[in-house]
Amino acid sequence: MASFHGNKINPSRFGLGQLKFYAFLIPLGLFMILPIVFIFSQSLKPLNELFLYPPTFFVHKPTFENISRLLSVSDITAIPATKYLFNSLIVTVIVVILSLIISAMTGYALSKKKFKLRKVIFEVNTIALMFVPAAVTIPRYLVVERLGLINNYLGHILPLLALPVGVFLIKQFVDQIPNELIEAAEMDGAHDLIVFWRIVLPIIKPAMSTVAILAFQMAWNNTETSILYMSHETLKTFAFYMTTLTTTIGNNVAGQGLAAAGAMLMFVPNLIIFIIMQSRVMDTMAHSGIK
């Protein structure tokens, strides 16, 4: 019988035995964030440093030149970058709010309501977890066109709202709420919406945060709706603007600074939101299993 040295998973203190894990994880962590550090560094480089040969990794004299130039001029499309940014903000905020409400309502109903199609709908949703929108770009385009959403803000929003992963995560989380709690409230005469709003929502906040992050990432990074459904330049989003910046990069070193600044603007909101919500995310993930 081998001896049991106590549980080593999730230790509460640092121990010498953990050094080997650090020895592997720290270099790897550094390697993983290297490209991100590079974006920051590149976006802060003044023009003469961008032209340096051999190229340098870190910036020497950081400036905000690239960022202010990105936001003030419009090299490529004759429309200021701030317009794209504004579109992205509006679309992202609406998508996050609506998809949260919709996913929460659906998750709650699938978990706590008894009705005939419950099992079927949940199974279909679980299969839809593997749905890859890019695979059906063409019929999706036809649907969007039929609905009259071409060159319409709603064309950015509606296709992103059905989020099977969001529904799935919230449903798994609502499952943790004891039925008695909801029945007690209902017996006291609480209306469905009140039960949902006052009892369910406060408990599933961690899951909501997680879904908010996923919805945010999806909407903020989305280029497809701009490329496929919008032909008016003024309706396109910042993520789309990024693609035009990168395609012109090849023959334009000065453009590198601009593109890096844009990439940084794309990344920073994602990072901030994740850092704020990370403990809630881990809480949700504990219940994320597919049974």
């Binding site: 953990q18 109903a109 949902f196 994320s288 299993g289």
Partner: protein, 323 residues
């Protein structure tokens, strides 16, 4: 005595009343529930039908037609599938092998890597774990379009590209290499870049799963004769977190097939140079939006959906708790 019996009877009566009330309440509740349930579900069901179910069904329908977007679709039976299997040289010679290679390395590779990293992270205390998790997870927060900038600068084909400059400086090469335009290097670069940002939601789920395994299970395992950490992972950790393993596997599958655009972004062309980085997703875009043969593109879409479904079924077979 008499009083006590009376009391007992009235109590029983009262209880009976309450229980009939309860039954009535439950009945009313179940009717109300059914209605309320559909009200709660309706926004999602409508959107889900419009943007997921109808497109999938339409793809299947269109795959049996010739459709050039100008004229109405013309039914041609299985012709598209026959062409796909017999006429489409690029598909058989490049696209399918590329996709299989890419999917096998990025899918299971990224998945195993995710699990391995999550397991390593579970071995260190909370504070440093949070920091390192953030470092490993943050690449998946980046948008592919935004990161294309970095890759284009790093893999730039002239001698000012970072990788070229580095390799020339250390004497590995004498001439700059056209990384993203070269049929040799495009695929490895695509795989590396995709692996780099594949530690996403599935990775977090598996980390949470490992952390939540009941510690007593390990104790019991060691009493039953588990000898090393590898056995511990195999006989205790993985079996106790099957649901998270499955969720991670499904996420890995989706991530793999969604990442297909990267080759076109890196090389700036569809089709990619000599079809070196051409994946099914790019083939669909090529036929759908460049050659406007939507029927054929739909047939390719259907094949892709079937492949994805097959991958996920495999994951279910491995980790599903019920068959």
């Amino acid at each position: 005595m008499k009083q006590a019996a009376e009391l007992q009877r009235s109590r029983l009566l009262h209880e009976e009343q309450i229980s009939t009330q309860k039954v009535k309440w439950y009945k009313k509740r179940s009717v109300r529930n059914e209605l309320a349930a559909y009200l709660f579900l309706s926004p999602y069901l409508i959107l889900f039908t419009l943007f997921i179910i109808i497109p999938v069904l339409a793809a299947i329908g269109l795959s049996f037609t010739y459709f050039n977007t100008v004229q109405a679709p013309k039914f041609i039976g299985l012709q598209n599938y026959v062409n796909l299997l017999t006429q489409d040289n690029e598909f058989m010679m490049y696209v399918l092998p590329n996709t299989i290679k890419f999917a096998l390395i990025v899918g299971p590779g990224g998945y195993i890597l995710s699990f391995f990293l999550a397991w390593l992270l579970a071995q260190i205390p909370r504070r440093s774990r949070t920091l390192l998790t953030l470092a490993i997870y943050s690449p998946s927060l980046t948008a592919a379009v935004a990161m294309a900038v970095v890759w284009l600068i790093v893999f730039s084909g002239d001698s000012t590209g970072y990788l070229n400059a580095f390799l020339i400086k250390w004497g590995f090469i004498n001439e700059p290499i056209q990384w993203t335009q070269s049929p040799h290097y495009l695929m490895p670069i695509m795989i590396m870049v995709t692996l780099w940002n594949s530690m996403g939601v599935g990775f977090l789920a598996m980390l949470a799963g490992i952390l939540n395994v009941n510690p007593e299970m390990y104790e019991a395992g060691y009493i039953d004769g588990i000898r090393n950490r590898l056995q511990e992972v195999w006989y205790i950790t993985i079996p106790s977190m099957k649901p998270q393993m499955l969720f991670g596997a499904v996420m890995a599958t989706v991530g793999t097939f969604q990442a297909g655009d990267i080759g076109v972004q890196l090389s700036g062309a569809n089709p990619t140079p000599q079809y070196a980085g051409q994946l099914i997703i790019n083939h669909i875009a090529d036929y759908g939006f460049i050659r406007y043969d939507m029927g054929y593109a739909s047939a390719v879409s259907v094949v892709l959906l079937i492949i994805i479904y097959g991958f996920s079924k495999l994951a279910w077979r491995l980790f599903g708790e019920k068959d």
